[in-house]
Each structure stands twice: as C-alpha cells, then as structure tokens.
Amino acid sequence: MPITKHRSRTLRKVYVKTPGGRTTTHFRKRKPASAKCSKCGAVLKGVPRERPYKMMTMAKTMKRPERPYGGVLCSRCMRVAIKEKARA
C-alpha cells in the first residue's frame, strides 16, 4: 500500500526504470491541459504541454508555430481567416 499522500490521484504516476533493473513508480505533478484552437477547439500542434516553469525556460520559437496566429488558431482556421481578410 502506498503512503497516504500518494493514494489520492492528485499526482500522476510515472514508471521509471532504475539502473538496477527494477521499475519503480515516481509521483509527479500533473501536466496542464493541451492548447486548443480558439475557433474550432482542435488540439494545437507544435505547442508543448508543459508546466509553466518549464515553459519559461523554453525559447519563444519552441512554444508555438512561427506563423501569424501561431499558438492561437490551428492552421486550417488561420487559412480561412486570412482568406476572408484578403477577399474583403
């Protein structure tokens, strides 16, 4: 039986293989929800799902795609938006 604080599911389990060959369970904090497109709600690709302290250490180019509306809209919605803008 794990110790009382590990019985709740506030922490996620990570199985780690030790150098001795055993597999042990480590308890880590849960990751935040993945980034979603603000228009269609699809999961955004190229946006990492990490805790804020890790996001702070990452470079800006690693955190979202390098295009207009990158990290906000998915590529499909961005294309539609730009087309509408061009036609108007």
Binding site: E66, P68, R79, I82, K83, A86, R87
Partner: protein, 121 residues
Amino acid sequence: MLNQIGRICVKIAGRDAGKKCVIVDVLENNLVLIDGQTRRRKCNIMHLEPLNEMIELDKGASHEEVVKEFKKLGVEVKETKKKASADKPAKTRDVKAAQKTEAKKEKKKPSKDNTKKKKTK
C-alpha cells in the same frame, strides 16, 4: 487564368502567411515562383489566395522590378539588408610580444644551466 504571371496573391500558409506576393514564373503543374513581401521562392498554388489585381511583369522578373511595381500599388516591401561578409581575421604576429617572450626564455635557460653547473662543481 488565375495563375498567370503578374497575378497578385496573398500567401495563406507558413511563416509568410498574410503577406502579398506576385507570381513571377509558372514552373510546373501546381508550382509557381513568387516574389514580393514574401521571400522569393517556389510555392504551391494551393498555398496562395489570388486577388483581382494584376501587374505587368516579364517572365522571371527580378526582385528589384517587383519591388518597383509594388511601390506603385502602394504595397510596402521590407528590404532586408544583406550583411557584408566580414574578412577573416588575418593572423598578425605581434613582434614586440614575441620578442619579450623569447627574451624571457633566453634568460631562464642560462640560469638553469648555471645551477646545474654549480651542483656538478
């Protein structure tokens, strides 16, 4: 014809998305050469949104000509300054410093010899 030479388009994919460009050359079935606010590059037709405007351009017109025509339309093109390639740092021998180090070496050597000689004596 939508994909004619001289047709102004808006790029809708990639990091140049939302920027205006002109078709400079038609390469293959779906490929065209574009230039303007974007980089001069090959581009799939599916990644372009053609506009009503047209420009009179020769096939394979240079970037400068495209910029000129864009200025007439009132579309600004950001000019990227090319960095002048710096010369390699030439190896210059510091004569004075070299002389000093040599002098030091010469001073040290005889002193060691002297000590040895003294011991031997």
